[in-house]
């Protein structure tokens, strides 16, 4: 059993950010920055045969900044919790607690995400009611900070490749929506990037039989909005309510979840908690995206472009 954790880099600047305990993986020439890190992960999967019992992970150069974790801590966590199929190191405690699932969170930051996701899942004949779909701390992964066996990556790659080919062929309504630019902080990125980022969470929720060890999200660094710090207990409770709903399908837990969540967001989300919304499943494209309190430096770190992207 070998643990292969790659850290992507594009240029000298991002190379300098690498943790020497991970394996550097160069995105040579960064030919398709529109796909962000997916381009490199894809290339790796297409060129290499994964070994059934080995673990693979693909981290961005900003892993340390976002998680405060050094490679040694990541490897120790894996060694201390043997036998997992998946290990996650997801940052952003409030985002994981205060939204029922990563798609609700995504729909708030990138209005119109849920209809695109639904259309894509229809194509895969996967039927999901996002208003009841649960991502708890176990199954919430942002930034693809995952180390997993092929039992996970094979399924992940099957789904992401379907999305990739639809977007690349650029035919039809779904392709148009996937390639459409969505504003995010100061960067403009295609919706496909944010959807690809959420496929891991989708799979982890759909596959409860996968043995997941999630690094304690409460120990992750706080974003600039420290308002949430005072609501740690409530956010843990929000997660417990999600787990209780997923366990029992008793919709009372959802009612209490949304009620408590609204209270937390009203207190903490200083910039623009929109009181018109009890939830964010129906925020359509015409609504300006919610701004988070911290600029996502991973997205601002626009990799150098060596070739013109051809898809958008």
């Amino acid at each position: 059993m070998k643990v292969n954790i790659f850290q992507l880099f594009y240029d000298k600047k991002s190379r300098k950010m690498l943790d020497p305990g991970f394996t550097p993986l160069e995105v040579a020439g960064n030919p398709r920055p529109d796909w962000r890190e997916y381009w490199a992960i894809r290339k790796y999967f297409l060129r290499n045969t994964l070994r059934e019992n080995d673990y693979y992970g693909f981290l961005s150069p900003l892993f340390k900044e976002k998680t405060c974790l050094a490679s040694q801590q990541v490897l120790s966590f894996i060694a201390d919790n043997p036998g997992g199929d998946v290990y996650t190191f997801s940052p952003w405690f409030p985002e994981a607690a205060c939204y029922l699932n990563v798609f609700e969170q995504g729909n708030r930051c990138h209005p119109g995400m849920i209809p695109v996701m639904k259309e894509f899942l229809d194509m895969l004949e996967i039927s999901i009611d996002f208003s009841k779909f649960i991502n708890d701390f176990r199954s919430t992964v942002f930034c693809n900070y995952i180390v997993a066996r092929p039992v996970f990556w094979n399924k992940w790659f099957t789904i992401t490749e379907r999305l990739f080919h639809i977007a690349e062929r650029n035919e039809g309504q779904l392709a148009r929506l996937l390639n459409k630019t969505t504003e995010y902080h100061k960067a403009s990125l295609s919706m496909k990037v944010f959807i690809i980022e959420r496929i891991a969470s989708l799979l982890l929720a759909l596959l409860p039989e996968l043995k997941v060890f999630d690094f304690d999200i409460q120990s992750m660094p706080w974003q600039a909005n420290s308002n949430y710090f005072a609501y740690r207990k409530e956010m843990v409770l929000l997660n417990a309510l999600k787990i209780a709903y997923a366990d029992s399908f008793d919709t009372e837990y959802l009612r209490i979840y949304f009620s408590l969540r609204t209270c937390v967001l009203q207190h903490c989300d200083a910039l623009e908690f929109n009181e018109d919304y009890i939830n964010f499943f129906q925020v359509d494209e015409s609504v300006p995206p919610a701004k988070l309190d911290e600029e996502d430096s991973d997205l601002l770190l626009v990799p150098p472009r060596y070739e013109n992207p051809s898809t958008t």
Partner: protein
Amino acid sequence: MSINIFQLYNDEASKEMLDPGFLPLEIKGNPRPDWREYWGIRSYFLENVLEEGNYYGFLLPLFKTQMHLTAEKALSFIEKNPGADIYTFSPSVVDSACHLNVFQQGEKSYSGMLAIMEDFFSRIDIPIDFNVFINDFRTTVFCNYIVAKPVFWRTWFAITERIFDIAEHEKSSLNERLNAVTKHGNSLMQIKVFVIERIASAVLALTPNLKIANYLMPHLPRLYYPCRDELRMLNALKIAYITSQREHYLHDYFSLREDVLSRCDPDFRNERCTDPK
């Protein structure tokens, strides 16, 4: 598949309380009142062969009063939730939410119960740490209000019969403590009755592969009504702990429970006033 829900009775007064939608089951002559309903259930299991696909339940004459449920409604709940191994109808949401498990709840009313349970479970090589043992709504059963397939009853009966043997035949400290008399309302009962009553909850918590459908009592004591959401939250924290084994959920559980009890339970408030710890 047939659903055999018996309602026990042992005299004219209790016979009059029966719901005609259940099957009456007489404890003839009530030869061992010290065992309460266990005597009736035990006799049934010893005298009958259970069929694998059938359901069996043994309710008290007080079922309707305690659960606010008629036989028709209980059967309708089972029909609307097909395929479970076990259906539970437990009357006290508050006792379930505000205690980590039924044994801690029992200790409050019947001092010494936890020590008895620890000794008993050690004896049968099932070590349980009751400080972290969880009964959530699904696995909390009081009054043996269970309708279940033999897959459950077999395990239950194997354990309860060990208790029965110890209480009936053994010369030991455990025997003495099981047979010790304790107050229950206005009457005196042996602690073995309350121990037996809690075995179902232990079995359900220890066998998570069993599929349980739990009828959650909609009625709450008036004092707890303002904290009805918090009772659910307490249960959610217990489930989160079971799922993740992360201790912070237990800390949050105890903290919220203290808050709920302080608001809703005058006895708890009084105890706090007299015992500043």
